[in-house]
């Protein structure tokens, strides 16, 4: 698998709960794209060349959009990309996205994969060989389904029928730094996560219940 252009990814950890904002940099053109507004702009600013062109929002939970207004105030031309039904779709510069749509920013090309479950408006963004999974998948487990608009059956479908059908040498970049490392190859993640080894939906529900029963705070 080859990426369609030269790009680099920087991750910035902070925010409410080991959140991660990513800065994708096209090494040919210098174009930059952000993923989530989870950390203060001051953390990212030293690495911004001019002005980032767009920000991809993985879902509408507040910890992933917390600094969106701050980013916009400093970079008013920033295009916000997110789920068509997200609670943040009121912004003037909001570009609604649907499942399977392709986003071209300069020479960077990203694929939106709607992955409801953790939250109804969850989207993963794929830019080979990387997949930004938000809270749908972390290092070592899937996301949880504790929100009002969470749905475990949708999460199962998103994980098993969408993410796990992708090439397993894709690298996962999650929305929180909850694992032993901040990113991981999909095939390695499957090996280390019981939630990614379910036989079917019933088994997945049992594994999730077992995870919640034994969960330690902050993991």
């Amino acid at each position: 698998m080859k990426p369609s252009t030269d790009f680099s990814i920087r991750s910035f950890i902070g925010g409410y709960d080991k959140n991660i904002t990513y800065l994708i940099n096209c090494n040919r053109t210098g174009a930059q794209v952000l993923v989530d507004a989870s950390v203060e702009l001051s953390q990212i600013s030293p690495y911004i060349n001019n002005s980032p062109l767009a920000i991809m929002i993985t879902h509408g939970h507040k910890d992933h959009t917390a600094y969106l207004d701050q980013y916009i105030s400093h970079h008013p031309s920033l295009v916000i990309v997110g789920h068509y039904a997200s609670s943040i779709n009121h912004y003037d510069r909001y570009k609604e996205i649907h499942d399977g749509e392709v986003i071209k920013v300069g020479e960077l090309t990203l694929l939106a994969i709607c992955t409801p479950g953790h939250y109804f408006d969850s989207i993963c963004y794929k830019i080979d060989p990387a997949l930004f999974t938000g809270d749908t998948m972390f290092v070592g487990r899937t996301g949880r389904v504790k929100s009002a608009k969470s749905d475990i059956e949708e999460l199962y479908d998103s994980v098993y029928n969408k993410i796990l059908t992708l090439p397993h040498d894709i690298r996962i970049y999650p929305g929180h730094d909850y694992g032993k490392k901040s990113s991981i190859l999909l095939k390695e993640n499957i090996k280390m996560s019981t939630l990614l080894q379910a036989k079917n939906l019933i088994d997945f529900k049992e594994k999730m219940k077992n995870y919640e029963d034994n969960r330690k705070s902050g993991s």
Binding site: M1, K2, P3, S4, T5, D6, F7, S8, I9, R10, S11, F12, I13, G14, G15, Y16, D17, K18, N27, V39, Q43, Y47, L53, A54, V79, V81, K95, E96, I97, H98, G100, E101, V102, I103, K104, V105, G106, T109, L110, L111, K126, I127, D128, P129, A130, R171, D177, S182, S183, S217, G218
Partner: protein, 87 residues
């Protein structure tokens, strides 16, 4: 536990790859996000909406488009490579 980390931990990954020489025509896909365009493969439930703006296209073909609410406001058939992020 909600922890505000005051120190940013930065990791840096560089994808050292070769230029996309396999699909040079994809440089001519047209406008991108900053021009308001997205790309997609046409699905069966797009056909009627595309017909309303006089775009006749087969399922699976790639289009560059803009939306007005739930409807297409503009759509152009482009090369299939424009909808692919694989090489």
């Amino acid at each position: 536990m909600r922890v505000l980390l005051t120190i940013s931990i930065i990791s840096f990954i560089f994808f050292n790859c070769e230029p996309n020489t396999n699909a040079p025509d994809c440089n001519e896909c047209g406008g991108g996000l900053l021009d308001g365009y997205l790309y997609k493969e046409v699905a069966i439930n797009d056909i009627a909406s595309l017909a309303e703006i006089n775009v006749s296209v087969n399922i699976g073909k790639c289009i560059r488009f803009k939306m007005d609410g739930a409807d297409f406001s503009e759509a152009v058939i482009v090369d299939d490579c424009c909808c692919s992020i694989y090489e």
